[in-house]
């Protein structure tokens, strides 16, 4: 049988596939299976009880709340930043591009700590805020801010290359045809970036719900009040309540799986349209 010039010998191909799949199994599939195995160790009832615990429910609610605030704000930020970067030149553009990557390079714990120092009691801003009865650290606003910091690159990073590649010609065409700014954005720009935006939102959301480090520092771990799902998992685990810990963890795992499924589903269902836009 003839092989294509870029194809490798059989054993080489087998080796490459084995390495790929092996890593996948050890690092991803096994742990995922372990999460569910541990969660259901004492059966369905124990699992359900763990999830129906008021503190667990409070953690889920809080996580959803934080994500519901942080993700839309990051979508607005991501759209604005990538629009600005891709479609026109301005002073400080390079700086903005660099700063967008900052959360990827800064440890989340550090970023959490910075917010504590910035808004916590003892700091100028913190004292002024507490004088005016505004609490940020150890409260929901702090969680939202920390989550936003960690997740803001996701939408922007997804959109910048896309928008740069598409250029401004279609927008110019729309304007020449008499469309105003909003109309141009909603009829031309947004449809062109919607798939990229959706991926960005999905990734941003998954990260927002799973964020541990930054949130852990600013949360204060007040049960039922400032504990998000990941923090709640940690507390349960530290209390040797393994079934409950893994049960709650399984929610996050399911979230990750659903995110991936959604992404694949979008790619599968709208493949022709996505191809048409690239072509």
């Amino acid at each position: 049988m003839r092989r294509s010039p870029t194809s490798e010998s059989l054993w080489m191909r087998a080796l490459l596939m084995a390495v790929g799949l092996g890593f996948m199994a050890v690092l991803v599939l096994l742990p995922m299976a372990a999460v569910f195995a541990e969660a259901f160790r004492h059966g369905w009832v124990a699992y359900r009880n763990a999830l129906e615990d008021p503190l667990a429910l409070a953690a889920v609610r809080l996580t959803l709340l934080v994500a519901a605030i942080a993700v839309p704000l990051n979508v607005v930020f991501g759209l604005a930043a990538s629009w600005a970067i891709a479609k026109f030149d301005f002073i400080g553009k390079r700086l903005l591009i660099t700063f967008i990557d900052l959360p990827f390079s800064v440890s989340p714990v550090i970023s959490g700590l910075i917010y504590v120092l910035l808004f916590g009691s003892g700091s100028l801003l913190g004292d002024w805020l507490s004088d005016h009865d505004v609490q940020i650290i150890f409260a929901v606003p702090g969680l939202v801010i920390a989550t936003m910091f960690v997740t803001f690159p996701f939408v922007a990073r997804e959109l910048i290359p896309l928008m740069e590649e598409q250029g401004t010609e279609e927008e110019e065409a729309a304007i020449m045809l008499g469309a105003n700014g909003w109309r141009t954005f909603f009829s031309v720009t947004l449809p062109n970036i919607k798939w990229g935006l959706l991926y960005g939102v999905l990734l941003c959301n998954a990260r927002a719900m799973g964020e541990f480090g930054a949130v852990s520092v600013v949360s204060g771990h007040i049960r039922g009040l400032t504990n998000t799902i990941p923090l709640h998992v940690e507390i349960l685990y530290n209390e040797y309540n393994f079934v409950a810990a893994f049960a709650v963890a399984s929610i996050l795992t399911l979230l990750a799986v659903v995110t991936l499924l959604l992404k694949s589903l979008i790619e599968f269902k709208f493949a022709p349209e996505i191809r048409a836009q690239k072509g």
Binding site: E169, E170, E172, A173, A174, I175, M176, L177, G178, A179, N180, R183, S187, V188, P191, N192, E273, R275, A276, Q277, G279
Partner: protein
């Protein structure tokens, strides 16, 4: 709709894209902005459209100041080189876009929009494709959709930025003719940008030749081709042969330097060619000239001066020529070349080798190589080639019958 651009200046950083450009386009005219890339032609078009703002100068549309008017208020149709069709909309929706975004009071009812869009699609022969997406069309079809889309808003002025630049040669030719016909039908004032001189010649009423942010010449295709005002225009508007020349005190122009070099080759001990070394006999003062360049050289006889000449370096030769007059650029079109095997004494000839003959058509296209390696092009009626029995590898002599000289 008449357009007037007055004293337009535009710089990008240090680069002067437009330098005090004045342009007037009459009502119903089809004008080509022709120039190499970086000549400022697209920038000028975009400033007229309102997609770019000039640093200085004014744009008047029908006598009305448009410089501060937003692009969307100028009622100008714009066709982009890469079509800029809305990828996620069908052909129909693309063309309808301009009508649908109108404010409610001036927006036509849906039935009328449909009617107008279909009429336009019929005009560009794409009515059967109304429900296709742009990605399902060929390049030529896409550009026709873009044209229909720009016409849908009934613009007063149509601007086209290298509209056929991204298409292959055959489609490009077809669309050119088609654009010409369309313009003859609807008579909308149009300006199109191109770097293709053939395209400019074939389509436009007037050609504006641009270079380095300035307008070099404005005229009918006839004028810019046959009466170019400077070397750049001549150079840009067609194939040509260039020679270095020198203008003497009488205003006569002589071929120079390279020709002198060739003459030198012939003056060498074993002359390869039999052509008269024209420079030597024509200028009796040559001896004195050589003495100026190589001082102290004894040159009692013509033979001695020939020998001295044969040993001269090129820089010495250049200095020799500088004694002689003003350097000029001499141009001749390929069809202005006279070719012969038997040179006469009355003219200066250049000895060349025939390296290629393309016999397609009534004019044979001949490539000739000079002794210095430069290629000359000649277009000669086939009958002459046949009667002279010129074939590849022959040594022949050429001279330009007609030249244009630019200093």
């Amino acid at each position: 709709m008449a357009i007037e651009a007055r004293n337009i200046c535009k710089t990008f950083g240090d680069f002067a894209a437009l330098d005090k450009v004045d342009l007037t386009v009459g009502d119903g005219e089809l004008v080509a902005l022709l120039g190499p890339s970086g000549s400022g032609k697209t920038t000028l078009l975009r400033i007229i459209a309102g997609l770019e703002y000039a640093d200085a100068g004014r744009v008047l549309i029908d006598g009305v100041e448009a410089s501060r008017m937003h692009a969307r208020e100028r009622n100008v149709g714009f066709v982009f080189q890469h079509y800029a069709l809305f990828k996620h909309m069908t052909v129909f929706d693309n063309v309808a876009f301009g009508l649908r975004v109108r404010p409610r009071p001036v927006r036509p009812p849906p039935a009328e929009i449909t009617e107008r869009v279909m009429a336009l699609l019929k005009l560009v022969h794409l009515d059967k494709f109304h429900d296709r997406y742009p990605s399902q069309l060929s390049g030529g079809q896409r550009q026709r959709v873009a044209l229909a889309r720009s016409l849908a808003v009934e613009p007063k002025l149509l601007l086209l930025d290298e509209p056929f630049g991204a298409l292959d040669a055959k489609v490009r030719k077809e669309l050119r003719r088609w654009l010409r016909r369309l313009h003859d039908d609807i008579h909308i004032t149009s300006i199109f940008v191109t770097h293709d001189q053939e395209e400019a010649m074939e389509v436009s009423d007037r050609v504006v030749v641009m270079n380095h942010g300035r307008i070099e010449q404005v005229g009918t295709p006839e004028q810019v081709y046959h009466q170019p005002t400077n070397g750049f225009v001549y150079d840009f508007l067609g194939n040509y042969n260039e020679f270095v020349g020198w203008k003497d005190e009488n205003g006569d122009v002589h071929l120079a330097e390279d020709d002198l070099w060739e003459a030198q080759q012939q003056a060498a001990p074993s002359p390869v060619l039999t052509s008269r070394p024209h420079w030597l006999s024509r200028y009796p003062e040559l001896t004195n000239a050589i003495r100026k360049v190589i001082p102290g050289l004894p040159l009692p006889t013509q033979a001695a001066s020939n020998r001295a000449f044969a040993k001269m370096t090129r820089s010495q030769m250049r200095a020799l020529l500088a004694e002689r007059g003003i350097p000029v650029r001499v141009f001749a079109r390929p069809h202005e070349m006279f070719i012969t095997k038997t040179p006469d004494d009355a003219h200066e000839y250049i000895p060349v080798d025939v390296i290629h003959i393309n016999p397609a058509g009534s004019l044979a296209k001949i490539e000739l190589q000079r002794k210095n390696g430069t290629i000359l092009q000649a277009e000669v009626p086939k009958t002459i080639i046949d009667s002279l029995a010129i074939k590849r590898g022959d040594h022949v002599f050429v001279r330009p019958k007609n030249v244009r000289v630019f200093e």
